[in-house]
């Protein structure tokens, strides 16, 4: 199947990825090829087959409700590109 540029632009917008015109075209072609390959799955009869999202046997893994200290403020903020008043900072959402 072949994706349109508009479809690529739509998913790129959802993925918060800015693409150059050259990238859009290249990804359009590559995605189309990969989807073609993935389309082989359509040939498999799966109607009676349950999905496997995890290979682990179903059982609960829980921890006790006991708090422990986490990161210090310094550790929490050290990798952040921009902070102020011990908070992370970003620009607002514009229309």
């Amino acid at each position: 199947m072949s994706l349109t540029l508009a479809e690529v632009e739509h998913i790129a917008a959802l993925a918060r990825l800015e693409l150059t015109p050259e990238e859009k075209e290249r990804f359009r072609a590559q995605l189309s090829a990969i989807l073609d390959y993935a389309d082989r799955l359509q040939a498999v009869e799966t109607s009676d087959i349950p999905p496997t999202s995890s290979v682990l046997p179903p059982h609960s893994a829980l921890r006790p409700d006991e708090p422990r200290p986490g990161l210090s403020l310094g550790e929490a903020l050290t990798n952040a590109p921009l902070t102020e008043d011990d908070q992370f900072r970003v620009p607002p959402v514009l229309e």
Binding site: A61, L62, D65, A76, D85, Q87, R89
Partner: protein
Amino acid sequence: MTKYEAVIGLETHIQLNTTSKIFCVCKADSWNDPPNTNICPVCTGLPGVLPVLNQRVVEKALLLAVAMHAEIQPESYFDRKNYFYPDLPKGYQITQYDRPIALGGWLDVPVPASPAGGAYIRRVGIAKLHMEEDAGKTRNAGHLRQIDFNRCGVPLIEMVTNPDLRTAAEAAQYLTRLRQLLRWIGVSEADMEKGHLRCDANVSIRPAGSQVLNPKTEIKNVNAIDAVREAIEKEFERQVREVEAGHRIEAWTLDWDEEAQVLRKMRSKETEADYRYFREPDLLPVCLTQAQIDAAAQEMPERPLDRRARFMETYQLPEYDAEILTAERQLSDFFEAAATAYGDEPKKVSNWMMNEVLRMLNEQGLTAGELRLQPAHLAEIIQLVDDGAVNAATGKALLAKVQQSGRSPAQVVADEGLARVSDDSAIRAVVEAVLSESPKEVESYRAGKVTLIGWFVGQVMRRMGGKADPALARSILEELLR
């Protein structure tokens, strides 16, 4: 003119009162803490770290499911809800999507009488109940936005009702009863001001009696019960106006502006979403055995409305009393224990509770569970008054003294010599002293102003520290004044 009814469904987010967060060991309650002080690699989405589910969250979810009469699912799953927002550090929220911990259920909501009609019960169906993590908080600061991640990962239960509510008042009543229930079973502090209980409302209208479901709007960010009532009322009226004017209702998302008391349409971009849900591969399913489910059912206390009905039935309390005494679980436990200890006349215990105990709780900012005054103490005090061992005023004072000291009423009476004096000679001596010191009043009385008898009794009582038997004092006074 067409008469319209509202069709309302509520989506509530309930913050569980666990000690730690849902998927990490950070302290859950940050109400009094500075920004970004209760965070760790897990709840701030640092690379490589993994969520681990808090056992207490499952237990509380289970208890709430039982309280709502919901069908508990032996196997439930966590999913990722993917979207970008700066207060969502992983870029996805861990929630339960198509296999939640409980489905179905209901809450019966008594709706009081109003000018529109008599009292009735509205049964509100529950569609589903699931566990999820909370997001952080952002706020505007100048031309930039600040992010505090303390709230990230605080455990929430999302509970969605069916569109069973018909008026804004019913919606408000539902929230009131839900809040009562949440506190009753101890799963949440349910303080709406602190965001422990949040509510979105879906509202549509239709001609009264019709069964159709019309396009609905969603009202977000309402954080007080009165505001929910107000916002739904306004939206109902707006939809009626629109339909009357021949317009279609569009599926808007509306934001409640608490200060301006108006609804504002949210920008469509903020609501557009394809969350691309899929199973959270970092967590195992939640598997509940029948034994665990049964244990939760066992743990479930009598529900508040059931207890209210029983108080009216068993103790012959008026609805008004029963309602107040079952507002809060520990208060109702207190009443019941006191009434049992006292024996007969539960209404008398109710009166003491409603007048004296509740006043004490209000004045001291306590809950019934925090009192040093025990239910048996209250019964004992009422009994002391009944027996004439102390007078009513002393009885009330005793409540405060017991609460303050933690000693039993009998002990306080003994220690402080509060027992009522019914010894004729002791009272007679005081009466004689009062009369000799008040010649003018004695003269007036004898001249016919017999209403002064109350004043004389008061003088005697004051001198005896309130311990005198007032009836005996009066008869001695009358005798000597003759």
